[in-house]
Symmetry: D3
Amino acid sequence: MPLSPETRDKLKRVSTATLATALYKRGFRTQFIQDVKPLHPLTESMVGEAYTLRYMPAREDLNQLTVFRDPSHPQRKAVEECPPGAVLVMDSRKDPRAASAGGILVTRLMMRGVAGVVTDGGFRDAAEIATLSMPAFHSRPSAPTNLTLHQAIDINVPIGCGDAPVFPGDVVVGDNDGVIIIPAHLADEIAAEATEMTAYEDFVTERVRSGHTIRGLYPATDGANLKEFAAWRAKNGR
Amino acid sequence: MPLSPETRDKLKRVSTATLATALYKRGFRTQFIQDVKPLHPLTESMVGEAYTLRYMPAREDLNQLTVFRDPSHPQRKAVEECPPGAVLVMDSRKDPRAASAGGILVTRLMMRGVAGVVTDGGFRDAAEIATLSMPAFHSRPSAPTNLTLHQAIDINVPIGCGDAPVFPGDVVVGDNDGVIIIPAHLADEIAAEATEMTAYEDFVTERVRSGHTIRGLYPATDGANLKEFAAWRAKNGR
Amino acid sequence: MPLSPETRDKLKRVSTATLATALYKRGFRTQFIQDVKPLHPLTESMVGEAYTLRYMPAREDLNQLTVFRDPSHPQRKAVEECPPGAVLVMDSRKDPRAASAGGILVTRLMMRGVAGVVTDGGFRDAAEIATLSMPAFHSRPSAPTNLTLHQAIDINVPIGCGDAPVFPGDVVVGDNDGVIIIPAHLADEIAAEATEMTAYEDFVTERVRSGHTIRGLYPATDGANLKEFAAWRAKNGR
Amino acid sequence: MPLSPETRDKLKRVSTATLATALYKRGFRTQFIQDVKPLHPLTESMVGEAYTLRYMPAREDLNQLTVFRDPSHPQRKAVEECPPGAVLVMDSRKDPRAASAGGILVTRLMMRGVAGVVTDGGFRDAAEIATLSMPAFHSRPSAPTNLTLHQAIDINVPIGCGDAPVFPGDVVVGDNDGVIIIPAHLADEIAAEATEMTAYEDFVTERVRSGHTIRGLYPATDGANLKEFAAWRAKNGR
Amino acid sequence: MPLSPETRDKLKRVSTATLATALYKRGFRTQFIQDVKPLHPLTESMVGEAYTLRYMPAREDLNQLTVFRDPSHPQRKAVEECPPGAVLVMDSRKDPRAASAGGILVTRLMMRGVAGVVTDGGFRDAAEIATLSMPAFHSRPSAPTNLTLHQAIDINVPIGCGDAPVFPGDVVVGDNDGVIIIPAHLADEIAAEATEMTAYEDFVTERVRSGHTIRGLYPATDGANLKEFAAWRAKNGR
Amino acid sequence: MPLSPETRDKLKRVSTATLATALYKRGFRTQFIQDVKPLHPLTESMVGEAYTLRYMPAREDLNQLTVFRDPSHPQRKAVEECPPGAVLVMDSRKDPRAASAGGILVTRLMMRGVAGVVTDGGFRDAAEIATLSMPAFHSRPSAPTNLTLHQAIDINVPIGCGDAPVFPGDVVVGDNDGVIIIPAHLADEIAAEATEMTAYEDFVTERVRSGHTIRGLYPATDGANLKEFAAWRAKNGR
């Protein structure tokens, strides 16, 4: 069930807050990745299918600098093999005391057409990464090499990231609030519903900015507001 | 004992750091709300009387999305009833894993003339809130709806916020360092003293920037500095 | 073993990430100060020898505001005696609930030619400090006076800062990722090696930005890349 | 809807683990009070309706030792008015750095016939409380008087305790795993179901102790096990 | 490289503290599982090869109670397939807010001859598990079913447990201080060395208990102590 | 101002809870060492003057096992030089991930007549230490050698321990609730007052156990209770 271009487009224009509510309606409470933020502000949402990298605690004898000479080292392999359009999501066990990756690897991901990168740890060279066009999310900057604490061990297995469950192929959406994971089978339905919700929220925002009370409007318990909304949609082509 | 316009004006021009010291002199050590920050930098301090909202942990059966249809839902009621000029302070039990409020509600508070909003949790739509002129303070952005973890339960009762005690009517002051709570009965006295302190601190800063040692100057153990200060005040009309 | 101007210059042009790797190669895993960030973005790295201030938990009777009238109070003494070119590093026991210092003291440090200031607690007047040219690093802004929780007790003794060991005279380097401590006796050697590493990383970054894979390039397991690097160095004068 | 003697009796003989599963089936995931333990091991479960005490952060001027001279001080009032058979549940904001109560007050609760006491903070005189027959649950011992950090502010309002929602009248059950809160309207139904579940679990435990696999037995996907269970019930009168 | 009976026997008689020092000599600093304790005091050390279970954060739709009806559910499968003599080590992401397992499953492990069970989360039915002869280690008791927060996802892959790296087949040793992981290829060598160290430590303890200084004795910088030790070994047959 | 035998005797018979209240009356709120517990239950309070050991984060090159061969290593020196009757208090920066000391060193302290030992980290060989008659307090057991994370750096300087300020010579009192620090100059006065308070508390406890309300009794706002207390003192010789 690959992510359709239509759904990808819709998701680029909705917020993680709206998606969180749509997921909440369906009983999902833990899909938001806790405590990560974008390294630069986003103007449209990051969207892509999850491609995962799992770190475990590093054992000293297995994590000398020479391990990077092996082209099959999972971190390096993930960087070269994460599909274009996907988002690389790293399970760093919520530990930003050592880096999950740095400027060179993140640049390589960007050049390869990857849609974004997320870790519940931290990136080194954070200021450099912040200048890249590809979105990156982390907990905080962290200079030490990943080998100090993290051993890359698995590629594209189900992981946890910031206490959210992430399965390969789930749809990852990130904006300035953070990152949320949409179960793959719900992506189309959630994208459609969130698009509708966004239209109404934009209408509400416009009304509130012009002085309207939220009573009866948000949510729309007063039918008059629904009528106004219909007119607004027609007028604004939404 | 409503907040007088004079005291409000004075407080807009003093820092939370100076207020913290004035409170410390009177034995208050815990009035600073820990770990909140403004969503956009402030150029003058946020000032207003505290109007409070208390959240408790959400019980699933009482927190379906439909609860917002009830106009007496405490969160929605607080947003519509917080007095103009007041600051809405939310006790989110220091838990930013779900939102305390979002862009529409905060916009509504701004439109109603509220002076600011503070939570020891997080706001959703944080980037949008950051564009509003009304100050907002939180711990970090958080997309999930408040229903996920927080149940609004009480309006305008004494609460804790970021480990600080907040009583309705206390005077809330916020700047780029964070937010501090002045017990209502001390507001005039603290505002007056902090205004005096600020004059001296501005004098000291000017002197230090021109190369003066802090010895004898900060604090003013050398009487010569007090004389210079008197001259400075005269000259600067302070 | 004072820090030579040559080594200081080299260190200004390398990142804490590169230094962390050079230290890691020599078995150092804990030299990065955890969870501090600069109050304003840096364009070159902060460099200086460590001059330390140790705080212990404040006992109420020993920390009235009057203590600052004593010119030998360790915090004030440190601010007047930290050598020009050094970095003042404060052990605030990772507790930002009260300030480690404020705008006036940090300004005085800058005026005295100090190279920077670091605390694993927080600064008050953070927005003001952020406008100074001298780098300052902390965990988060904090308005309460240091007396609330911190008692300055020792100057220039070995300390911990953000879980890193800091000995007086160690070389402190800070950039946008944070701050790292180079043991004094290794400063020259680490600076030289990091300078070489930086040249190669700049070459790699350039290559990756033009679409090159990291395989064989980072690290340089393919000899062809080393040849290209030699040409690049010649051409770029590095 | 007072707690019936039948339901109370049933609940004394089931575990919080079994109750947690029965609640989970109905969509309740957060009713377990996190991180509290009994001061002495229990041989039957503590059961009672919740009577609550809410603490907020202490403001210094309102929390001098003299406040206890006021018989309407909420902590003292709660101790004298919590109904016999109820459980006093305290919201100490998960902060055990100062006590929630001590030996004398807990003894008074016991003498008054209260069924138990729970705080998500700590008790002072913990060793003495551990000798009482009435169950008490806390996070860890804590000698400082509650006035140091906690101000008792409300009696019998909805609270949070260890991240669980607690409404007055909810049914509180505690055993050696900790404490769980049953929404009042579900107490009879949950007690009945948990009693049935306990019978089956006891049967399973007996079988497993005699070497039986859990496959087909736990849960009972193999019908033969249900037949054996029926026989076991008949034989054991359960 | 299966664990030899000789090495197993040696390891049963040495402490995790001694093993930690032997590992430290070889550069291993993170093999101790942080913050777990035995549910009952041990009189000899638990020893066995690691068999692992990995949990990820639970997604609500995949963790209904019915999942346990599937005999291939990884938690249930691990309980039935963990080899006799091995130790089941669970990666619960250091989260004891929901159980990792309960009394019935742990009893089944014991009946199957498993050597012990470790989680960096918590067990439900902890008081019952504490009565079993098989050692069990956790962080704290936790009544909620694992489905509440943990989804069992992988069996016998490399994991983290309490920040320690655990590879299937590593040798797990537990005592009253906690649990340590010996890399498989070092088990014989570490067991031999720790046995020697233990002999010397027992000699030292005896000497210290009779009033001897530790100077020159611990470590044995005074040759006379080594001579006494030789005599002690001869006399005590060690 | 050495600790007099009379004051030492009084302090052995009062609780840390009572001492905390006596200190609170004098404005001391942070003298209780947070989050430490005795390794075995105490029947009388541990009392002694503080002799301190300060740890800083360990730098790898300075913390090889060979450092213990140096008799002036601060940890070993402290163990041999802590005066009989004193309490060795260790500042382990609240980090129990590596040990502060182990069975042999603690036994040596006991043999030398030291009154007790306290760390805000953890002890290795905790089960063995628990069998010694000398009280020991820590946060939790920890097998790794102190060299892994802690470098002993200073003896008998002012330190923090569990967020409490500890000056050499302060009086340390420990019981089953934990450990509290009495400023040296207040020891006699606090001991005397706490002895009086304890008499009244014992009277109150007796009354409450016989069914008396706490109203008017605790505190004694009803004069009749003071009269009864006077009679009780006479009868019980207190």
